[in-house]
Symmetry: C2
Subunit: 305 residues, 2 copies
């Protein structure tokens, strides 16, 4: 049984925490303990978010830009795959040291379509918040928009993943019994320009990338680990309803009726529906309920029908 | 025939160049053109240096330390494996697009011995130069020494590689026909503390790591690509002698007689001798002569006897 586990950014760094080496390792250790039993039992691929980390890398590149030429987003995405992939691999090895499973982290490039409408209409806020003065100084270099009332922020395209360049290798490694960490931060977005690959400035949604990887390697289950134990209708309201399960048909209806906000649960549900074109089931829950959810005792199960 | 190609840092960024995205891609593209014919012909593993890049990452971490908590060297090493591995993989795919070889970049952790004498006696200078005032401010945080007359600099241990954690997977991928980029910057140094892996602050010599990887995957040839077309005696002097070939015995003698300086050719020759305990031959040359050297028409060949 093949499973793809998509780790949300909040499994790596909690809201309000400052990412020091110490907190990074502490959180990843805890998370690894929670997913180790799953990794032992299934043929597992693990993907992860990088929102917080790419924000930090952007900030570092900006602050030190007079001394070190800043690198574009695709390079920073690759850096973040190392920054998170390495401690994740290390802590999983520590948790799995009595098994024979070898863990390997594969840099992942994801082909996107140059004509994806996301390039004309960027929607993904990234990096630090700017004051109005900083905005005026930076607006020639970057596309910057107001992000609610918290200030100004860079906005970049979030194109849909088309193909995972390393998919065949990843599938091969899984078959061999490796645990593969890949698709970090949604993968590094690249386009095909007249037969040549070229990185682009953008961020691919991590859950969409996970669905794309899952489909390419013929995974049975997509397990999305996020900040809530179940998907809800009317989230955070008095009349909140936690969902134990839903079909694709129902998920589509709720989505249409606006139950799942664009910035949070929306893309997860869309990516789930996409995965179920080929895969068998999707479970959405938090890290703590991961194992139980696979036994049918927690989380929200999404099925084809 | 299995080959391990060790790319020197100067193949990625030339002396005196400032590493912008543009120069990085330009240099890597040129280098990929030079090694593509080799990669087509052999089962190839590619390693690379990261001296310049880890220097930049250290500087970025330091300059922005009030806003973003700095990460230790092992994490920055992992970041540099993404920073370089990704464009290298991308440009190689572009060069090899008419072949079926799949290229994959594997994050690489290298086990070192906690009791390695390098930890008591650090010798590797890294990162930016400091003034005397900066030295006084930073000396409590880092170990800093005077680096010749150019200023003060951080000094870190350079332990010997003991075991490549991902070696079996890398060997497996090579057998399958993959081109594997790994061991970037000498790999991420980790120690085994009571059965648990833990990253350490240090830098493993890239050529020693390449020898270690080469031996673990039973490579036949180690091709070290550096800044000179041949190994010389009396390098840069009037009586310079360029060497076409030498045996391990002769290499050991020259080494003992002080012909190969510790900071440059010395470790390359030592790593070559180490590789030849198992491998068949070592060639040292520059990127431009790489292909010719394998035909016996360039470079310095080192053989067992």
């Amino acid at each position: 049984m093949k499973i793809i586990i998509a780790l949300g950014g909040n499994a790596i760094i909690k809201k309000g925490e400052k990412e020091t080496y110490h907190t990074l390792i502490k959180n990843i250790k805890l998370m690894s303990k929670n997913i180790a039993p799953i990794v032992k039992k299934y043929n597992a691929v693990i993907t992860h978010g990088n929102g917080y980390e790419i924000g930090n890398l952007l900030l570092q590149n900006e602050i030190s830009s007079k001394k070190v030429p800043p690198m574009p987003l695709d390079i920073l995405g690759a850096e973040s795959q190392g920054l998170i992939g390495y401690p994740l691999e290390e802590q999983l090895i520590n948790e799995l040291r009595n098994t024979k499973k070898e863990i390997v982290t594969v840099l992942t490039q994801v082909l996107v379509d140059e004509k994806d409408k996301a390039f004309r209409n960027p929607t993904k806020f990234i990096g630090p918040f700017y004051s109005y003065l900083e905005y005026k100084r930076l607006r020639r270099r970057y596309k910057i928009r107001k992000d609610s009332n918290r200030g100004y922020r860079r906005i970049v395209p979030s194109p849909k993943p088309v193909r995972i360049l390393e998919a065949k290798t990843i599938e091969f490694l899984i078959k061999r019994g490796n645990v593969v960490i890949c698709g970090g931060g949604g993968g590094i977005p690249i386009v095909n320009k007249k037969g040549k690959l070229k990185g682009v400035e953008g961020v691919i949604d991590k859950d969409w990338a996970s669905s794309c990887i899952g489909k390419s390697i013929n995974a049975d289950i997509l397990l999305i680990l996020t900040g809530v134990d179940k998907v809800s209708l009317n989230y955070g309201e008095k009349n909140e309803i936690k969902l134990d399960k839903m079909s694709v048909k129902r998920a589509k209806r709720y989505l249409k009726e606006g139950y799942f906000p664009a910035g949070s649960m929306g893309p997860k549900i869309e990516a789930s529906i996409d995965f179920l074109k080929k895969g068998k089931k999707v479970i959405i829950t938090d890290v703590e309920h991961a194992l139980k959810s696979l036994e049918g005792k927690a989380g929200t199960l999404i099925t084809k029908r």
